[in-house]
């Protein structure tokens, strides 16, 4: 199993380690998932995301190379700005979801899912290496997420970067955090304000310790993959492998907002245009359980007549809402708020209700 540069630090903290796509990762620390979830919603959670992949595109035609691969419009990115997007196969099926950072007009960074790194690297090289240099820097790169409403307040004393001036999806490519060279991006996967901080892998533990201390000063703490999953589920952010895969398109997944069909060409554009024109037949729906029961990945979803219409792709408790929530693909006509559906929870038919938008939305500060 692969280990992140923070492996020893997790063991010292008493983390429960699990195999996550071939990586030994902390699922939680001794306080438990719900405690870490609440700490992130209320103050700051610090997450080891060193396992994620970093692939750099460099050269005069780097923008063209990245644009070929992703559905969002690369031309709208300025230096120091990032966006969320997906990369598709020629079929329109999703290869991965990722964040693209424009460091300069000739240097883009993509951050991809750990479990997809090898597949993505092969695909990116196959499709883009003729246009620019494509380099996988995952092994040399450390990445720590610092997420929560108190993130800026806790991080500001450690850096010269004016965090107030950093907008969502903005980043500073070269700065320092108490002596560690880093990049600070205002991105995340929790539904909270926060930062993702890159550094050299060899500096990751020093950065981690600094960030843990900073988090503790505002009531925050380290948080594991378990909380990362409940946080992203509450915010209704999809997880590749559960909610997204090569058999789903971004339009079906509710990611139409990152698909710019009228901009520059990209791989998969034609089938996506056709799907949009014809109407999307199924959609990734969100629903709240209205009876006692937890819908989990793979459970059948039934319509009001008891006919199976899809399967749960992600589900579990939403600790902030104190409800159980889930997502799954259903025929588009069922994707109306208030529609009653049922989930077959291990043989027990449990009612649920379709809702629109994130289950949890942070307040505007």
């Amino acid at each position: 199993m692969q280990r992140t540069p923070l492996h020893e630090a997790h063991l010292r903290l008493g983390a429960k380690m699990v195999d996550f796509g071939g990586w030994a990762m902390p699922v939680s620390y001794p306080g438990g998932i719900i405690d870490e979830h609440r700490a992130t919603r209320g103050a700051v959670g610090v997450f080891d995301v060193c396992h994620m992949g970093e692939i750099h595109f460099r050269g005069p035609r780097a923008a063209e190379a990245v644009q070929r691969l992703v559905t969002n419009d690369v031309s709208r990115l300025g230096d120091g700005r990032a966006f969320y997007t997906v990369a598709c196969r020629p079929s329109g099926g999703i290869v991965d979801d990722l964040i693209v950072y424009r460091i300069s007009s000739e240097h883009y960074l993509t951050v991809v899912n750990a479990a997809n790194l090898e597949k993505d690297r092969a695909w990116f090289i196959e499709q883009a290496a003729a246009l620019c240099d494509v380099a996988d820097a995952s092994a040399e790169t450390g990445l720590v997420a610092f997420q929560g409403p108190a993130a800026a307040r806790a991080l500001q004393p450690l850096t010269q970067v004016a965090l107030d001036a950093l907008p969502g999806f903005g980043f500073v490519a070269d700065c320092e955090i108490t002596g560690v060279r880093a990049s600070i991006a205002r991105t995340g996967y929790t539904g909270e304000d926060g930062f993702e901080i890159f550094c050299a892998a060899r500096d990751a533990e020093r950065l981690w310790n600094t960030l843990i201390e900073a988090a503790a000063s505002v009531g925050g703490k380290p948080a594991g993959l378990g909380a990362r999953d409940t946080l992203r589920l509450e915010a209704r952010l999809p997880l590749y492998g559960n909610d997204l895969d090569e058999q789903t398109t971004p339009l079906e997944a509710g990611l139409g907002w990152v698909v710019k069909l009228d901009g520059a060409d990209f791989i998969g554009r034609e089938p996506l245009r056709a799907q949009k024109a014809a109407g999307v037949g199924r959609k990734l729906c969100g629903f709240v359980m209205t009876e006692r029961g937890i819908a989990r990945h793979g459970y059948p979803i039934l319509d009001a007549d008891g006919v199976e219409r899809g399967r749960v792709t992600s589900g579990g408790p939403a600790p902030t809402l104190e409800k159980n929530v889930a997502m799954g693909y259903l025929p588009s006509h069922l994707d109306l708020p208030g529609t009653r559906i049922f989930v077959d929870c291990r043989g027990k038919r449990t009612s649920a209700e379709i809702v629109k938008g994130p289950f949890y939305k942070r307040g505007r500060s």
Binding site: K16, V27, S28, G32, I33, I34, D35, G226, D229, T230, R292, G293, I294, R296, G316, P317, P319, N324, R346
Partner: protein, 135 residues
């Protein structure tokens, strides 16, 4: 906080415990899950249990525990009729995490076959089993 594996309980390899007592000549077994099980589960968010009056059979599923991450079956350490259910767990499943051997108990059975007790592990044997499993 109760002991990790109290000496007065019996255990199964499925990580349930049973506390035996006798009342009016009837053997009663109070049943729950062990500290080890709780540590594996993480935060418990829902407990599904049988109703009073139902019968359960040794080694059969009698209920389930939902944690944040997963759902796990509960296996009966002994056969018998359910005489009591810890109904507060419906609203306070966290008792299972906080106090698995007392407030977190799940059901009480009127034991129908006392010979089955011989098949249970004592605290030492259970801990030896955990060590064998590399825990």
């Amino acid at each position: 906080m109760s002991a990790q594996y109290p000496d007065d309980l019996y255990y199964t390899k499925d990580h349930e415990w049973a506390r035996l007592e006798e009342r009016d000549g009837q053997k009663l077994a109070t049943i729950g899950v062990t500290r080890f099980a709780v540590e594996q589960l993480g935060d418990v968010t829902q407990v599904d249990l049988p109703k009073e009056g139902e019968t359960v059979k040794r080694a059969d599923v009698f209920g389930s525990v939902e944690s944040v991450k997963a759902v796990s079956d509960l296996f009966a350490p002994l056969s018998g009729k359910v005489v009591k259910v810890n109904s507060p767990l419906a609203d306070s499943p966290e008792y299972v995490n906080e106090d698995p051997y007392d407030e977190g108990w799940m059901i009480q059975l009127a034991v129908s076959d006392v010979k089955e007790i011989d098949g249970l592990l004592d605290a030492n044997a259970y801990q030896a089993f955990l060590r064998e499993q590399g825990e």
